[in-house]
């Protein structure tokens, strides 16, 4: 039975020292590279100042990288064992903001932890991935054909989705659904089931429209025709496109972006940071950034394929998917492909919560890599 006898050194029992040696430093290098680009972009966003964004970005990253390594060095079995507990903690945090938001005024999506404003929904996305990975790790290829098997994971997904939806944060809710969908897909759920859900989803759009908040509806309408109100709600997207387009092939040059530095571009240090980079560095620069994200994606895949356990594979690809979703949504948004939904560009946009979540995720992927030769039982 033991076909991998030669790898016993790494399987099941590894000392801390062994693990450190298993860390993929090249993966960490690319992660760091993204953060460095973020630092440079934020430096430019502040018109050539490290205050107020670039410096805190660097500090956050430095702290975060330590966290990443800690997460990576924790035994993967522990992540597996406590997967549902972690999920439960995430859910509690989500409930906490929900109650707090209910008591306070309006939609408050974060909890102040002193050094950081933690947005539980960001963490929750990863918690869902962990929980689902744990669940599907224990499901055989045969079981997965049985729809009953999907009841528990569906509950795992829909519970936080519903909570996030009531915040209301439609974007995050959709992201949780998409990440979960990816894991269901990777776990082997039949294509036709996806077909049914997709069809059902489309049918639900009118219903969803009905439940949307006014500002959400306005965003969608503005997206469909941004020129209708160039100084009102269409302003963001129009100015973003002007900034991108005027960047041209080679860009206006570092610190020379007129749209961003003259404040025509809104939210240039957060949601529209990609626009700032594309304006200053042009098509070449923006494609280079895309390429970097592709590299991150490829690492995710290589690690998943290399992993010897289903838990690790699903975890690696699930989290990669989660990360890429941010990237896709953010860039689609600033290029005017989808409505403005307020999703940051992870590791680059100014903001603590998103970076913490991203680094936590990368830590888990790294953990999968470090423990790539582990084999799990079904439970």
């Amino acid at each position: 039975m033991n076909l991998n006898a030669s790898h016993t050194r790494y399987s099941d029992q590894m000392g801390l020292f062994d693990r450190v040696f298993q860390i993929s430093w090249s993966y960490l290098f690319f992660i760091t590279l993204i953060a460095v680009i973020g630092y440079v972009a934020l430096y430019s966003a502040a018109s050539g100042n490290i205050e107020p964004w670039a410096l805190s970005h660097a500090i956050r990253f430095s702290v975060g990288v330590v966290g990443l390594l800690v997460v990576a060095l924790i035994d993967l079995k522990l992540w597996h064992r406590y997967a549902y507990w972690i999920y439960a903690i995430g859910l509690c945090l989500l409930l906490a903001v929900e109650i707090k938001g209910f008591v306070g005024m309006g939609a408050q999506r974060w909890i102040n932890l002193g050094f950081i404003n933690l947005q539980p929904s960001e963490i929750m996305k990863i918690c869902v991935v962990i929980a689902l990975a744990r669940y599907f790790n224990g499901v055989t290829v045969e079981d997965i054909r049985n729809p009953k098997t999907l009841i528990i994971p569906l509950i795992l997904v829909l519970l936080p989705t519903a909570l996030v939806m009531t915040q209301p944060d439609l974007g995050t809710a959709l992201m949780i659904l998409m990440v979960a969908g990816a894991i269901f897909f990777l776990a082997g759920v039949s294509y036709w089931l996806f077909g049914i859900v997709l069809a059902g989803g489309v049918a639900c759009i009118p219903v969803a429209w009905h439940f949307m908040q006014d500002y959400q509806k306005r965003r969608v309408l503005t997206f469909l025709n941004p020129e209708s109100d160039p100084l009102g709600s269409g302003y963001h997207i129009t100015q973003s496109k002007i900034a991108l387009g005027s960047g041209g092939i080679s860009g206006k040059g570092f610190l020379e972006g007129t749209q961003s530095h003259l404040n025509f571009l809104p939210e240039k240090q957060t949601d529209f940071i990609f626009t700032l980079m594309a304006e200053e560095w042009g098509f070449i620069g923006s494609c280079a950034i895309l390429l970097l994200f592709i590299v991150i994606m490829i690492y995710g895949y290589l690690i998943a394929f290399r992993s010897n356990n289903q838990f690790g594979r699903l975890l690696a690809l699930g989290i990669t998917m989660n990360f890429l979703l941010y990237v896709f949504i953010n860039i689609s948004m600033v290029t005017g492909l989808i409505p403005v939904v307020g999703v940051p560009l992870p590791m680059i946009s100014n903001g603590g919560s998103a970076m913490m979540a991203a680094l936590f995720g990368f830590g888990l992927i790294m953990c999968v890599y470090v423990h790539r030769d582990y084999k799990f039982g079904k439970r």
């Binding site: 387009g245 041209g248 092939i249 025509f264 098509f283 895949y301 594979r313 690809l317 290029t335």
Partner: protein, 615 residues
């Protein structure tokens, strides 16, 4: 283990599908970026520049207008204007509410501001009110902290120190209308005013100057970050007129004794106009901040048409002042000489028609000098019969009647000198001898303006050149060409005969304007009275002996007088017309006397400074 291998295979297949999908999305994003940043680059570059580069115009001061001595006739005053920046205002109603404590804003003004706000970009200032006085400005400045989004700016507003006295001459300025819009960028400046009438209109391109501009890099809220390029503005040029401001005021006040009158005082040698007045007048300063509807209505409905410059646009039959034209034409044609005389028995018959002399009892034997002195009509009836209308018309034109003289203010009318051709063209009928007869004494179809009458007199006095009236003394930075008038080509002896007759009008015992002669030593004037019928005196009126002054104002005769002075070496000429003033000798001549006395006393042709204050 095979269980896990199967799962791994399934996972791998699914992962590859999902990975392909993601690569597809990346490809889509790259394509989108390529579209925006390569295909559409030009378009977005332009939009970005439009965003980034702001144009701000720099105002140019409007050129001053001064009289011949430098007395200001049109100047620029400080104009405090209140603006709001819509972007910085939370509650517009509250602002209006607060403002009403300090300045008066009508419903209409508030409505205008509201409309302007909706039309402009949120950071473009909107004018609330201009022409704020010191007190209002000070109070607003003091309360600025309570009025966020409000600011006060100092601009310029046109002011006319002489007010009504120069209203027709200088004109006024107003907002640019659609038809006046040209490509000159200065016109789009807030608060720019264009010359609407008078000198302000004629010289507007010179007066308005050139707007400067600053190209600035602006940020999203329109705040200027740095200057990219700057062109300084050029102020308008100063225009100096030939007018003597004090004489102008004097004349205007004089004319104001009558319901409606006008006068022109000019120089027979160089054509310079010293005074050009039309009464009643209006205050051009009313137009500075936009005239109210009531005031405008009042000006329009006044039967004495205060808005019309009657000195250049009033059409009057010249009456007996025209006799000098008929006399010169007859002298030139050889029909009369200084000794030729006709017998006046109070009327003259042409065919079956009887033409009356103003003196029913007749003048007896009348020669040229006496015909002018006593303004005998019959003398001219006799002459006209032999002379014919064509020769009269020709002489009229040579003396400056029947066409515009090209004075430097718009609105000049051309008058009318009828002849056979004109009548055929106009009525399609043949010219009648009787029409020549009444034309000879300046009645019938003949129409002249006061400016033409003054010019006619100037040409007679000048004798050499066909003088034209000139208002421009000089324009700063601009070459005003020296006038080049054609020769008059009228026999000097003939002119002297006519001038002698005109001198007799005031100087001799029986002259029609004897009562209005100037008694000051060396200032005597010569002239010619004119009493122009507005409506033909009917037989019934003649029989009943109805006095003209008892008729309704509109039906009374016009009173005219043309004059020159001093008689020894005449230089100044003037024409005075009092609408429906009944009698040339009784109404117009005394005005001319006062005007001619004043102009000689001031002697603007010789004096270099404007009288009293400069002494």
């Amino acid at each position: 283990m095979s269980q896990d291998t199967d799962r791994y295979k399934l996972f791998s297949r699914r992962a590859i599908v999902l990975g392909g999908l993601k690569i597809g999305v990346f490809g889509g994003l790259a394509a989108r970026l390529g579209y925006l940043q390569i295909s559409e680059q030009q378009k977005f570059q332009t939009m970005s520049d439009k965003n980034r580069i702001g144009h701000r115009m720099l105002p140019a001061s409007r050129g001053e207008i001064v009289d011949r001595f430098g007395v200001p006739l049109a100047v620029n005053n400080q104009n405090f204007r209140a603006f709001i920046i819509p972007e910085q205002i939370e509650d517009l109603d509250r602002i209006f509410d607060k403002l009403s404590n300090f300045i008066f804003l009508s419903e209409f003004e508030i409505e205008e501001v509201r409309i302007a706000i909706t039309k402009q970009r949120r950071f473009t200032p909107v004018l609330i009110k201009e022409g704020l006085n010191w007190q209002q400005t000070a109070r607003l400045e003091f309360h600025l902290p309570e009025l966020p989004g409000l600011f006060i700016e100092e601009g310029e507003v046109r002011h006319y120190p002489l007010g009504p006295a120069t209203a027709h001459l200088i004109g006024y300025v107003g907002r640019v209308s659609e038809t006046e819009m040209t490509s000159d960028p200065i016109m789009s400046m807030p608060g720019f005013r264009i010359g609407k009438t008078g000198i302000e209109k004629k010289y507007d391109p010179v007066l308005r100057g050139k707007a400067g501009s600053v190209r600035t890099e602006v940020n999203a809220v329109g705040r200027e970050i740095r200057e990219l390029a700057k062109t300084e503005s050029e102020d308008g040029h100063r225009v100096k007129l030939t007018i003597d401001a004090e004489l102008q005021i004097y004349c205007q006040e004089l004319l104001a004794q009558h319901k409606s009158a006008s006068c022109v005082v000019m120089d027979s040698q160089n054509g310079q106009v010293y005074a050009l007045c039309s009464s009643p007048s209006f205050d051009p300063n009313l137009f500075s901040f936009g005239i109210s509807a009531e005031q405008w209505e009042e000006l329009l409905s006044n039967p004495a048409v205060p808005l019309t410059n009657k000195a250049i646009a009033g059409h009057y039959p010249p009456g007996s002042t025209f006799k000098i034209v008929t006399a010169l034409a007859a002298l030139e044609a050889g029909i009369i000489d200084d000794s030729t005389s006709f017998y006046c028995r109070g009327y003259h018959e042409v065919g079956r028609d009887r033409f009356h002399c103003w003196k029913a009892s007749g003048h007896g034997h009348v020669n040229l000098k006496k015909s002018l002195q006593q303004s005998c009509d019959v003398f001219y009836y006799e002459v006209a019969e032999k002379l014919g209308i064509e020769k009269i018309a020709q002489m009229s034109r040579r003396l400056g009647l029947g066409d515009q003289l090209g004075i430097e203010i718009p609105g000049e009318r051309s008058g009318l000198v009828p002849d056979k051709n004109w009548k055929r063209g106009h009525f399609g009928t043949k010219w009648q001898l009787g029409e020549t007869v009444i034309a000879s004494i300046g009645q019938g179809y003949l129409l002249t303006t006061p400016l033409q009458l003054a010019t006619m007199t100037a040409r007679v006095i000048n004798g050499k050149k066909a003088v034209k009236p000139i208002l421009t003394y000089d324009v700063e930075g601009l070459k005003v060409p020296k006038p080049d008038w054609p020769e008059l080509n009228i026999n000097q002896r003939h002119l002297d005969l006519v001038i002698q007759g005109m001198n007799a009008v005031t100087m001799s015992e029986k002259g029609t304007a004897r009562a209005a002669r100037i008694k000051e030593e060396g200032m005597s004037m010569g002239g010619k009275t004119g009493t122009a019928q507005v409506r033909r005196t009917t037989r019934a009126q003649r029989r009943a002996g109805v006095k003209n002054e008892d008729l309704p104002w509109k039906d009374r005769h016009h009173a005219l007088f043309i004059a020159h002075a001093p008689i020894d070496n005449p230089r100044y000429v003037c024409a005075v017309v009092v609408e429906h003033g009944v009698s040339g000798s009784g109404t117009a001549a005394p005005l001319a006397r006062d005007i001619m006395t004043e102009v000689q006393r001031r002697n603007p042709a010789i004096n270099q400074t404007s009288g009293s204050e400069s002494l």
